[in-house]
């Protein structure tokens, strides 16, 4: 080989190595868990996709997607279908347990106006604690049977607690604890992972296709999607908790749902709530 050719070859090899390295660096950087950057990118994605929708309006799900639907929502709010659940929740919340204590004894600020802080990461337990889980733990600590996570009683209690927090910005914290960061990252992975025979992830509907129809329904954007929970769904003719929403999403894509409040669901709630920080609590909500 001539010396000049050898130099060219060595230079080309070096350039290729540099390009390869340059190619891997951004990917490595992107793989680093950075919730602040995630939340920023998440909001940007949706506000870029729907430039006419105000940031705080994303919490109204499909009703934020166009003017007609927004008008429908405003009319619905005059006689909201979740009202009966709200009344029930208010009554349940103040009714003492057999030992004389109430839910207020289990929560900061007596449980009023605190919805925006759930779920939180419990550093003692090393796990995510959702509002639904905290409510059942409160019941059990006071000698009561836990409620089903997918039925009306849980929906009513969370509806009341959300109502007392309406307008407060979602405020989820990730403490300086590698387990909290891992829970957040696992929640993100769950959100984007395709599953079920239909090969759908949560993101397939709520990132790739919000505003589009799926059969007769209009898909909600993922941004602010949990701020409206629990929801009255016309399709269900009743109220639905966050647990009900997650498990039915799984079965609709032909995946066997996990048990409500399994780690995966708690983590995905943590992730989705965190990236919606700053958007107002609007629950209880109503959906088509």
């Amino acid at each position: 080989m001539r010396p000049r050719s050898a130099i060219y070859l060595a230079s080309a090899a070096l350039a290729l190595a540099a390009l390869t390295l340059a190619g891997t660096l951004p990917s490595d950087a992107a793989d680093k868990v950075d919730p602040i950057a995630d939340a920023k990118a998440f909001k940007k994605f949706f506000t870029d996709k729907f430039p006419k929708v105000k940031l705080e309006d994303f919490v109204n799900g499909p009703y934020s997607m166009n003017e007609d639907l927004h008008r429908q929502w405003q009319e619905k709010e005059q006689f909201p279908p979740y009202e009966f659940s709200l009344e029930m929740g208010k009554e349940m919340f103040s009714k003492p347990f057999k030992n004389g204590k109430t839910y207020a004894d289990c929560f900061p600020n007596g449980g009023i106006g605190v919805r925006q802080n759930y779920p939180y990461f419990d550093e003692k337990e090393g796990k995510v604690i959702t509002l639904e889980l905290a409510l059942n733990r409160c019941r059990e600590a006071n000698g009561e049977q836990p409620y089903s996570y997918v039925r009306d009683e849980m929906a009513a209690l969370t509806a009341y607690m959300a109502f007392t927090s309406r307008g407060k910005p979602m405020d989820i914290k990730i403490p300086d604890d590698p387990r909290a960061l891992a829970a957040y990252e696992n929640g993100k992975e769950y959100f984007y992972t395709r599953r079920g025979q239909l090969n759908f992830s949560c993101a397939t509907c709520h990132v790739q296709s919000p505003g589009e129809r799926i059969r007769a329904e209009i898909l909600a954007p993922a941004l602010g999607i949990l701020n409206a929970m629990p929801i009255y769904r016309s399709e269900w003719s009743g109220m639905g908790t966050t647990s009900r929403r997650f498990t039915t999403c799984n079965s609709q894509i032909r995946g066997v749902p996990l048990s409500p409040q399994d780690d995966e669901y708690r983590n995905v709630e943590y992730y989705l709530s965190y990236v919606s920080n700053g958007l107002p609590i609007s629950g209880p909500g109503a959906r088509p």
């Binding site: 992107a30 984007y192 992972t193 025979q197 990132v207 066997v256 996990l258």
Partner: protein, 105 residues
């Protein structure tokens, strides 16, 4: 002559019955093997937290057909269930890294 013909007919009938019975037994064994393979694959999908509702439904259909004595149908359903379970395992395994392709960055 008549006796010989009768004996031959009896032997033939016995042979035919034996063949049918051994065919049926083979089919049941085949079903059992196919069902066990499908259950094993579905269990693996369970450890990956990614079972499909269609796998469970197809396994139930296989069991129902077997209970009714239709082992051909039962075996076909069990094999289909195994294929579904294996697809769910492939999905769970490949999504371990592929989920990042969908991530908003």
């Amino acid at each position: 002559m008549r006796n010989r013909m009768l004996r031959s007919a009896l032997i033939l009938a016995l042979l035919a019955a034996g063949a049918t019975s051994s065919l049926a037994a083979g089919s049941e064994d085949e079903f059992k093997a196919a069902y066990a393979a499908a259950e094993t694959a579905n269990k693996e999908a369970g450890t990956l937290r990614n079972q499909w509702t269609t796998t469970a439904a197809t396994l139930a259909a296989a069991k129902k057909a077997a209970d009714a004595g239709d082992f051909d149908k039962a075996t076909a359903s069990a094999k289909e269930a195994e294929a579904l379970a294996k697809a769910s395992i492939f999905q769970a395994t490949s999504e371990k890294t592929r989920w990042k392709d969908l991530e908003i960055r």
